[in-house]
Symmetry: C2
Subunit: 510 residues, 2 copies
């Protein structure tokens, strides 16, 4: 690789030598008769990112990509034909009770160079990468008043505190009118609690409560009832509420403004990885490059979270061998079973993922999507597993169980404490998070060209040989350090856009 190929030359990507299928690289797809350098010619038009049969595949025979079975042919598929989604029967998901644990543990060789970044060290030892006044809420009822106050704080106060990056209201749809004691209520509650402890808030978070909500504000404050909490029902009217919030903010802005960046080790970083709007290139360009960066981060001592249960589920047999211990393996299985049960209760099945856009992008089913998705996690041992919204506990590679939904996964990884999320996308999404930046990596050149002011890194160059997986992996790694240091901004942060927090609440609303 490393040499750019003529874009008119018909080209496909085959990932494993075992594969009997490959995906079309050429922008716009290829027409009938197109001939590859190996001699293979197409029987019909195949769109970009979609699969071609590399040999004749008999009905009921295995269709293999990434060296794994992604499905079975519904009918005879001729060599050079388009393997449409409608021709593929999905395999059963791997059973969860007899998976091999810890049979594929690669040695973690530390990086030779000691990479650093500039961060804000907090009194509890954690490190922030932004300096934000966080204002959390114990119930959605307060949001209207809070947003009014935040607007005033940003306009009137923030300019006086140049070292503070932003004021962020942690709005959510929880807190009351919910079954607060139902078993799964622990998930949204833990998420809200941990969001307030994000290292970018420097321990100076404010809590705005109403006063009659089920989620009492003290639960967001380690049970303490101190001057972090403002209860609207104790205030004398709206004008008073707003002024009290502003006064409370001013004290904290004053403290936050004194925070200073200092040199920190990469091992202080917590990085999340995710994909969204995936296409057939995700698994061969952006995700492998991100997997390489994941390995670099882990080798440098950092923590990396990968997530998205519904995309991991069908490839979990490739992850349990990487569980560092039996406990990690058991926890991984526990999270898969919880989700299987959750989907069953809601009468949903695996075909709910991928999305129509994924399918138009060439992904036949969740098995193919999963194989391309888990590549983001690199190759190293999995050292920990977090239930949804749990705070990160260990260095190294962690599986943080979350839905695959981009904004829900983002919210849960924030609660776990990520400083930055690397997000690979094939179809394109402008998604960004309010507390931590989202670094966007495109899977295709065409997306980067079209969305030149939203895509931060282009992994599409890997497909046509302009760059190697390793080169893009290093680019991601180095960009992470720059963004974490505040010396570089992601496109979405430059525009100042972000998505609302979206809690994962599997328990009833009342």
């Amino acid at each position: 690789m490393g040499n750019k190929l003529d874009t008119d030359t018909p080209i496909y990507i085959k990932v494993s030598t075992k594969d009997n299928t490959a995906i079309i690289v050429n922008s716009g797809g290829l027409t009938k008769g197109a001939k590859f350098s190996c001699g293979l010619a197409l029987n019909e038009r195949i769109p970009e990112g979609h699969k071609v049969a590399l040999c004749n595949i008999a009905a009921e025979e295995e269709i293999i990509r990434y060296g794994e079975v992604i499905g079975y042919a519904k009918d005879h598929i001729k060599k050079g034909s388009w393997i449409r989604e409608s021709l593929v029967d999905m395999p059963s998901p791997p059973g969860l009770d007899n998976l091999p644990f810890s049979t594929n543990l690669v040695d973690v060789s530390p990086l030779e160079e000691g990479f650093t970044f500039l961060g804000y060290r907090n009194s509890d030892g954690s490190v922030g990468t932004k300096n934000i006044l966080g204002i959390t809420t114990s119930v959605q009822c307060v949001v209207g008043v809070l947003e009014y106050a935040v607007k005033r704080i940003k306009e009137d106060l923030l300019p006086r505190f140049p070292n503070v990056d932003d004021v962020v209201a942690l709005n959510h749809n929880y807190g009351c009118g919910v079954a607060i004691n139902a078993p799964d209520a622990t998930i949204p509650i833990r998420t809200i609690q941990n969001l307030a402890k994000h290292p970018n808030f420097g321990g100076e978070v404010m809590i705005i409560g109403l006063g009659c909500e089920k989620l009492i504000p003290q639960r967001l404050n380690d049970g303490e009832d101190n001057d972090n909490i403002l209860t609207l029902q104790n205030e004398s009217g709206f004008v008073n509420m707003v002024q009290s919030i502003i006064n409370m903010a001013e004290e904290r802005l004053d403290k936050l403004d004194k925070r200073k960046r200092e040199v920190c080790s990469v091992s202080d970083l917590v990085i999340g990885v995710q994909c969204g709007g995936s296409d057939a290139f995700s698994g061969v360009t952006a995700n492998p490059a991100l997997g390489f960066a994941t390995d670099l981060l882990v080798r440098a001592g950092a923590t990396v979270l990968f997530s998205e249960v519904t995309e991991v589920r069908d490839a979990v047999h490739l992850l349990t061998p990487r569980a560092a211990t039996k406990e990690v393996g058991d926890s991984l299985i526990r999270e898969m079973k919880w989700y299987d049960n959750y989907l069953n209760k809601g009468q949903a099945d695996r075909s709910a993922n991928p999305s129509p856009g994924n399918k138009r992008g060439g992904l036949s089913n969740v098995v193919e999507k999963s194989l391309g998705s888990i590549v983001k996690s690199g190759t190293l041992p999995i050292t920990d597993v977090l239930a949804p919204g749990e705070k990160v506990k260990k260095k190294g590679l962690t599986f943080a169980a979350t839905p695959a939904s981009d904004f829900v996964c983002g919210t849960l990884q924030l609660a776990s404490g990520i400083h930055l999320q690397v997000f690979t996308t094939g179809r394109g999404t402008p998604y960004n998070l309010p507390i931590a930046p989202v670094l966007k990596v495109s899977t295709r050149n065409t997306l980067q060209e079209q969305w030149h002011d939203l895509i931060d890194i282009n992994a599409g160059k890997i497909a046509n040989g302009e760059a190697t997986i390793e080169e893009i992996g290093w680019e991601i790694f180095k960009d992470i350090l720059e963004v974490a240091s505040g010396t570089k901004k992601t496109w979405a942060d430059k525009w100042g856009i972000h998505n609302d927090l979206a809690l994962f609440n599997p328990s009833p609303v009342t």
Copy 2:
């Protein structure tokens, strides 16, 4: 009533002659020894809004309020004692299979005076009470870009269109990463579809989609793929997306600016009623007054929606007799059963409602809360039942099934098409909706005094005899007409605060 009582005089409210308990009216409660005009003296201090035993109640004997059993005494309760929550065993909910239908149908006598308001008549015959540019979304991914564009539209364009009240982005956490084909997915999808059809948007709603989401934008547009839809993945980058949204908005603002108010009949109005942050006064001041207003509206030919399944459930035996037809009764039971099943699946029980604030306000349990809550629905026959998020179909009193959660109920009633929500509150909440105003009615004088710039109408005057239920009922009715006409603003609309939409999504996230 009608004469103000000395606030130092000990006073209680007994609702039905059958009651063996009454609530303390005096602000701050009453101390031991306090003596009522009837001769009853307190054995102990009782807080405001809490219950006193009017006679000796033996262990396991019925505790009666509103003429209904709200529980059973856990222990002997002496006359003049405080009936604490801990002394009350909850009764079983009424069974759903043998309830009487249509046995209590009161005649609807039309109001003599023909009341009117000033509204915007739409081409489909519906009437708007505000003139809003609505911009809906098929997936949460687009929210960051959309909010950036909306800010620009409000700053740069809106001042040029003085007849347009507002630009509202219909943000929500749905659209992708969800089990879109699960049985209960119909609820959030229908809600989003119907929100876009709100009469205040004048049929000029815009739809912003991403391009790869599961909820395809055409589903928000009656299946049509016309120029209402803007797909971000078709745009060349961020700057371009924003400009395209602005251009699309300008065309629609131009049309909306030509809308004019005309005289409309009250029968064109759709009014929602809800309570939140309830206390023991809710059921004796604000809710009965609202119930009177509900009757006035129905008698004037309008549609009134009442909701909150978890608060109706324990009093449903008082509602089925008011079902206008067997079909209405069956639908009411269907919605109760759906919710029973939903709560069971989530292992939640009825004790999840009321909230701690309700309990501090004097409400022992959901039975007592329900009896006080359904009073909002007045006395007239129930002519229709809507599943969550369904569009209103008939004139008259409609049960619109929703959770009791204030912001979820508000969102669902908006989808059903309410022009205004009347919201009674005892503890106080600043809650407001983005598309339709929320008229807030306080249950106590003290709340109105404390939140003088948020409470629109004070029903607390009923408790100490300063006003009658009928007087406050008429005040609510007349304020509705003024707010609907745009000649009066609610406090929350004056401040421009509102809560985020909160979808009811009982189906899985993926």
